[in-house]
């Protein structure tokens, strides 16, 4: 187990450092001098010269890389080139929006997907089960950006029930929740199908366990068996899958944020790409990679604890 944890930690560390190095290399390969690129077209020669010494651009490349990584570890993600704001502050402001979106989607997906999957398993091969199966696959195949656009079209443009843009008035919880509904539904859609299918498979497997048969033989009521014996075991794979998929969820969140103009991390990065504000792109990506790696690490570790077979791999 300790070996497994160490291996996971090492991989996470290498991933994060590797990502930083790749970002650094990409910046190096950008057409033009990094100083000109990072400062934008309005920079005067004096500013560029000052910037070059400030950023160690006149030092050897491995020192630049070391400085780059050390600065990140110190929490300094550089300065945005249009408004001269520290990037770390921009990222910290955007981050809660993304995290709230991610968690509310997972919540919606679980609340709908788990009962759906359980129900399908209980009435296996019935018409309802087949319909649910088809709907689940369809939900999984619809990419979240498409779900976002279609929800926007139906519920915000056509019916005008929900707001189309923004993340709500700051400080007004109700308005923020109101603005959260469509984005988190769009992001949750694929996950509902995903969770329903895993839940169905795992309930079916659980139903053949000896202790379930024993419980039934004891004459326990049907719902007691379902809730106390079957569901408990069946939920484990679902939890593991949610953890493993959390990273992909962040990727989907970027698109949903773009579509609904939510001021989250994805929207920040996307706007920075559009305006060629590279320090923000760089800083935002680093935080995204960190979050992603962290989620993967937690999921892998919990998976290893739940399922001993994983550890030996």
């Amino acid at each position: 187990m300790i070996k497994y944890i160490l291996r996971r930690l090492l991989i996470t560390l290498i991933t994060v450092l590797g990502a930083m190095t790749i970002l650094f290399i990409i910046i190096q390969f950008l057409p033009g001098d990094p100083a000109t690129v990072l400062l934008g077209p309005r920079a005067t020669p004096e500013i560029i010269k000052k910037f070059r010494t400030q950023m160690w651009l006149d030092k050897p490349i491995y020192l630049q890389l070391a400085r780059f990584i050390i600065n990140i570890l110190k929490g300094d993600l550089g300065t945005d080139v249009l408004n001269y704001m520290p990037v770390s502050k921009l990222v910290i402001n955007a981050l809660p929006h993304t995290i709230v979106l991610a968690f509310s989607s997972i919540f919606i997906a679980s609340v709908i997907g788990i009962p759906l999957g359980t129900y399908s398993a209980a009435y296996r091969n019935s018409l309802l089960d087949r319909i649910t199966g088809l709907i689940s696959i369809s939900m999984i195949t619809i990419p979240s950006f498409l779900a976002g656009i279609l929800f926007l079209l139906i519920f915000a443009v056509y019916f005008d029930w929900f707001p189309a843009m923004g993340s709500g008035e700051p400080g007004d919880i109700l308005s923020q929740l109101w603005h959260l509904i469509l984005p988190s539904l769009s992001l949750a859609l694929g996950w509902i199908g995903y969770i329903a299918r895993i839940m169905r498979a795992s309930v079916l497997e659980e139903m053949t366990e000896d202790y379930v048969r024993t419980a039934k033989a004891k004459g326990l009521k049907e719902y007691v068996v379902v809730f106390k014996h079957i569901l408990r075991g069946a939920l484990i794979p679902v939890i593991a899958v949610i953890g493993v998929g959390f990273g992909n969820l962040l990727g989907g969140a970027v698109l949903v944020e773009i579509i609904f103009h939510r001021q989250g991390l994805g929207f920040l990065i996307f706007n920075a790409i559009q305006s060629r504000n590279y320090p923000i792109v760089q800083g935002g990506l680093i935080i995204a990679v960190l979050l992603y790696s962290l989620a993967n690490l937690v999921a892998d570790l919990s998976y290893g604890i739940i399922d001993p077979r994983v550890r030996s791999e």
Partner: protein
């Protein structure tokens, strides 16, 4: 006799794929997409990029079945030609991924344990990158480019196949025919690619079929944010992107673009799952 039995068994397996109702629907839809892509010039009523400013943003009508876009281009024709881009990108991406996977996967399985473990860690690292964000950044900095797109998506997809090939290689490399080849002095390269490769490649195709919808979605997503197939090539993602900017006044672009995209991904998903369920029980564990 045994050969005949094996043949019969294999045949019944293939048959099972097509007797699976969802698999059948998927297969018919794939044939439909292929048909549209191959005969695109005959099916499309207009040139996909012919601009008609007098008919911009007109709704569905008998002249333009699916309406026109902001430059007066016929949406139906653009969708029809877009199917070619979808198939081209997904097939070349997956082929590129499989080639990488064959090389590194067999290497990881056949080389020493140290090399194998190092490669496994490399696969894990690539897998744990947020692929979409990275692709967006790299393409934003280099400019939209079809080949770059294929290379990036291919690299992000290959570790899954490579792991599969490695596992198969580990199983095969102790077999007699490999020992025999070693005994008659075959080179490492020849053992890896002539003797091991044909025996490990099978399961990859099922995994690849399952991955086609993922790649289609990836391309459409990048095109949607303006970082995919460069204009004026009619990509479905680009059509949806234009539709998004006119969503209040001309919703048909988004509607028909989405239908095309969902149809294509759904068809490959249904068929891929039927393939997996009926041909490869080992993969069934990763169901979903």
């Amino acid at each position: 006799m045994i050969k005949k039995l094996i043949k019969k068994y294999k045949k019944s397996n293939i048959k099972r794929v097509f007797s699976d109702p969802l698999g059948k629907i998927g297969f018919i839809l794939i044939l439909f997409v292929l048909f549209v892509a191959i005969f695109a010039p005959l099916i499309a009523p207009y040139e996909p990029s012919s601009i008609d400013v007098f008919n911009r943003l007109t709704g569905p009508s008998s002249q333009h079945l699916f309406g026109t876009d902001n430059l007066g281009r016929d949406i139906l024709s653009r969708l029809v030609f877009g199917s070619r881009i979808v198939l081209f990108v997904s097939i070349s991406t997956i082929s590129f991924g499989i080639i990488l996977a064959i090389f590194f996967g067999i290497m990881a399985g056949y080389s020493s344990e140290r090399v194998g473990n190092t490669l496994l860690i490399v696969f894990d690292i690539i897998k744990s990158f947020p692929a979409l964000l990275f692709a967006m950044t790299i393409i934003a900095m280099t400019g939209p480019n079809l080949w770059m797109l294929i290379v990036i998506i291919g690299i992000t997809r290959f570790p899954a196949y490579a792991r599969l090939i490695r596992a198969q290689t580990l199983r095969v490399k102790e077999k007699e025919f490999v020992t025999a080849a070693l005994a008659i002095g075959a080179s490492t390269m020849s053992i890896m690619f002539k003797h091991i490769l044909p025996n490990v490649i099978g399961p990859i195709f099922i995994q690849a079929a399952m991955d086609i919808p993922v790649v289609i979605t990836f391309e459409a997503t990048l095109s949607f944010v303006g970082l995919g197939v460069p204009p004026p090539t009619p990509s479905w993602g680009t059509i949806i992107r234009t539709g998004y900017s006119y969503i209040r006044t001309a919703p048909w672009m988004v509607i028909f673009g989405s239908i095309a995209l969902i149809l294509a991904t759904l068809s490959f998903t249904l068929f891929g799952e039927a393939l997996r369920d009926n041909l490869d029980p080992r993969l069934r564990q990763n169901k979903v």
